[in-house]
């Protein structure tokens, strides 16, 4: 599985892309983007939303917006997107 960060999130974390192995044991909890956010400690600090994925950060799975609690599958590309400022 590929994890991608953009813009301010990438610079804060110090990386833009990481490959991870999903835990595929039958008794393993399905991994979600929200769980990955905690696991990879992507919050600015413990005081930042208690380490949870903030509502301002959107999730994309395989380049489409997705709910943070959608289960992830092997081979998925999951991205964390800071607030969008286009146009």
């Amino acid at each position: 599985m590929r994890v991608r960060l953009f813009a301010s999130l990438r610079e804060r974390a110090g990386w833009g892309e990481r490959l991870l192995q999903l835990d595929l044991r039958p008794d393993a909890q399905p991994t979600t983007a929200a769980a990955l956010w905690r696991q990879l400690a992507l919050a600015a600090g413990p005081e930042d939303d208690g380490g949870e994925l903030p509502a301002t950060v959107r999730v994309a799975i395989n380049q489409a917006f997705a709910a943070p609690d959608s289960p992830l599958a092997p081979g998925d590309e999951v991205a964390f997107l800071p607030p969008i400022t286009g146009g």
Partner: protein, 161 residues
């Protein structure tokens, strides 16, 4: 006997991500020529609306701006722009849509975005341009960084309408 209703052909949607400065009026002219080449029945082109956005010369805090840096999510940004344009065209019954958007380093005064819509009437053409512009500002993955005094600052949110 078939009772299917007539299906309107999907309107032509053109999405362009541009890494170098562009001339919006030249882009518009090329787009109009390409639509005209498809024949007068290809689109309902009695009305056409355009928006050109340019980089302002100051930062959000009023400092002189050297450049705006536009980051995007290659693949998703194009797909999302196309999906937003298709949805907006369908809502308004627009006949054709063009979206051109810069990426990379954009200097003050340069065009950053161009949205154009052809429709049968002024209402749909104008409304579709405005809606699509707001949609892409909030839902197409782009991130702006302001460069001023040699320092880059990520922009926290969109400017007010």
């Amino acid at each position: 006997m078939s009772t299917t209703s007539p299906v309107r052909p999907a309107p032509p949607i053109v999405v362009q991500l541009l890494e170098a400065p562009f001339q919006p009026l030249e882009r518009l002219a090329a787009w109009q020529r390409s639509l005209a080449a498809e024949g007068p029945d290809a689109t309902g082109s009695a009305a056409e609306s355009h928006f050109i956005g340019r980089v302002r010369p100051t930062t959000a805090t009023g400092e002189p701006l050297e450049a705006l840096e536009l980051e995007h999510y290659p693949g998703m940004t194009e797909a999302q722009l196309r999906a937003l344009a298709e949805a907006c065209a369908a809502r308004h019954g627009a006949g054709a849509v063009l979206v051109a958007h810069r990426v990379g380093r954009v200097r003050p005064g340069e065009a950053i975005v161009l949205v154009a819509v052809q429709a049968d009437r002024r209402g749909p053409a104008l409304r579709c341009v405005q809606e699509l512009l707001e949609d892409l500002k909030h839902h197409a993955p782009f991130w702006k960084r302001e460069w001023s005094g040699g320092r880059g600052t990520w922009v926290a949110g969109n400017t007010p309408l």
